[in-house]
Symmetry: C2
DNA sequence: ATTTTATCTAAACGTTCGTTTAGTTATTTT
DNA sequence: AAAATAACTAAACGAACGTTTAGATAAAAT
């Protein structure tokens, strides 16, 4: 990744790896959300000084954006698997399972970082964050539509309606994953796909 | 309501009505959440001085609890209608519609205050808040179970599974109502009940 | 070997937060 | 009318926030 700023000739090596500290920051943001995570907590979790954070990422907001990008990379692995699969609606269900399995509390993480962020910033005018969220949601919806069109014989209206339904279900699922057990989530996914 | 503290003989009348200012505080908390709402904003919205807030409600947390109670009163009107109805599963669907209709953006409110609070405090150790949330969720689930048992011929396992499903759907719905349109929400509710 | 400069630590910055206090005003009690 | 006191205004409190700065350290360039 290297610094987000223009590279200069270096006089002293960085004692930390930027990718590693972003990974740690991401997990902290994931556990606590943006506002609740303080620079002091980040300093401790990332194991580097505030100055180092600022020189590498500009400010807290810049660090959060890098954390989001880092999270998106992981999500994209699942998303690519989903798009490359070829079992129609069954792929969507599998995608739900794959998404949720990564949403579970390895070390206190709650739900999906992207969905949490979408909710935390829903009434916020932060353009950069909204851009991240909207492209993510749009991509998801388009993929659902594509899968639904390829599979079975749905008319256009049904495809749109079911895609909307699945998008909301996915959103609700990620929110619910914050407070429900894997078993409850599993039942929910199965129920969701009975009528798709 | 009167003050949350013991009543004393008064030397000067309060120039505000406590119920009215709680109503205003509730709407502000609803729009912004607990942490994002500052005492300064509350002061302005409620139209009274900080001192008055503290003498009436103790602190920000006390004011929030009063706001939650106030919100619950409104929710309970819908909830009572639901419990007193006698059309089985159809009542649950109507309850979803009734709940959601109150979640829409009259003046920028986002979703359901109780669900928002449940999410905002999900990793918080605040006993009083958790108590509010848990009793609310438990009551909801019990009511769903009761309705499902009375209606049709479901076995015990199916009742439990469907009640869990509906609870998650309701939770997800309230979260989704923050960022989706009424039309999308309506489609979602209809889809939800196809296989119940 | 000396100079230069990026990175480090640690302290301090100005704001804003929730909360409290000091002093004034208005109403009740004597 | 005077005394007592609850409710008011406005200023101040300490703590925590995100951010910046001053000075020490270490590696590259000369």
């Amino acid at each position: 990744m290297s610094s987000v700023f223009t590279e200069r000739k270096m006089a002293r090596k960085k004692e930390y790896n930027e990718h590693e500290v972003v990974e740690k920051a991401m997990h902290l943001f994931w556990r606590n959300g943006y506002e609740t995570t303080s620079m002091q907590m980040l300093e401790k979790e990332m194991g580097i000084n505030k100055f180092s954070i600022y020189s590498s990422f500009g400010n807290k907001h810049g660090l959060f954006l890098e954390s989001l990008k880092n999270y998106k990379k992981k999500v994209n692995l699942i998303f690519e698997k989903f798009k490359n699969a070829d079992n129609g609606v069954e792929d969507i269900k599998q995608f739900f399972y794959d998404s949720i399995s990564s949403n579970f509390k390895k070390d206190g993480e709650k739900g999906c970082l992207l969905t949490n962020t979408y909710n935390e910033f829903s009434d916020n005018e932060d353009e950069l964050i909204r851009e991240h969220m909207n492209t993510f949601m749009d991509n998801l919806k388009l993929s659902f539509i594509e899968k639904l069109q390829k599979d079975g014989t749905r008319d256009e209206a049904t495809v749109i309606k079911q895609a909307n339904y699945l998008l909301l279900a996915k959103h609700g699922l990620a929110a619910a994953a914050r407070v429900n057990t894997p078993k409850e989530i599993e039942d929910y996914i199965e129920m969701t796909f009975v009528n798709i």
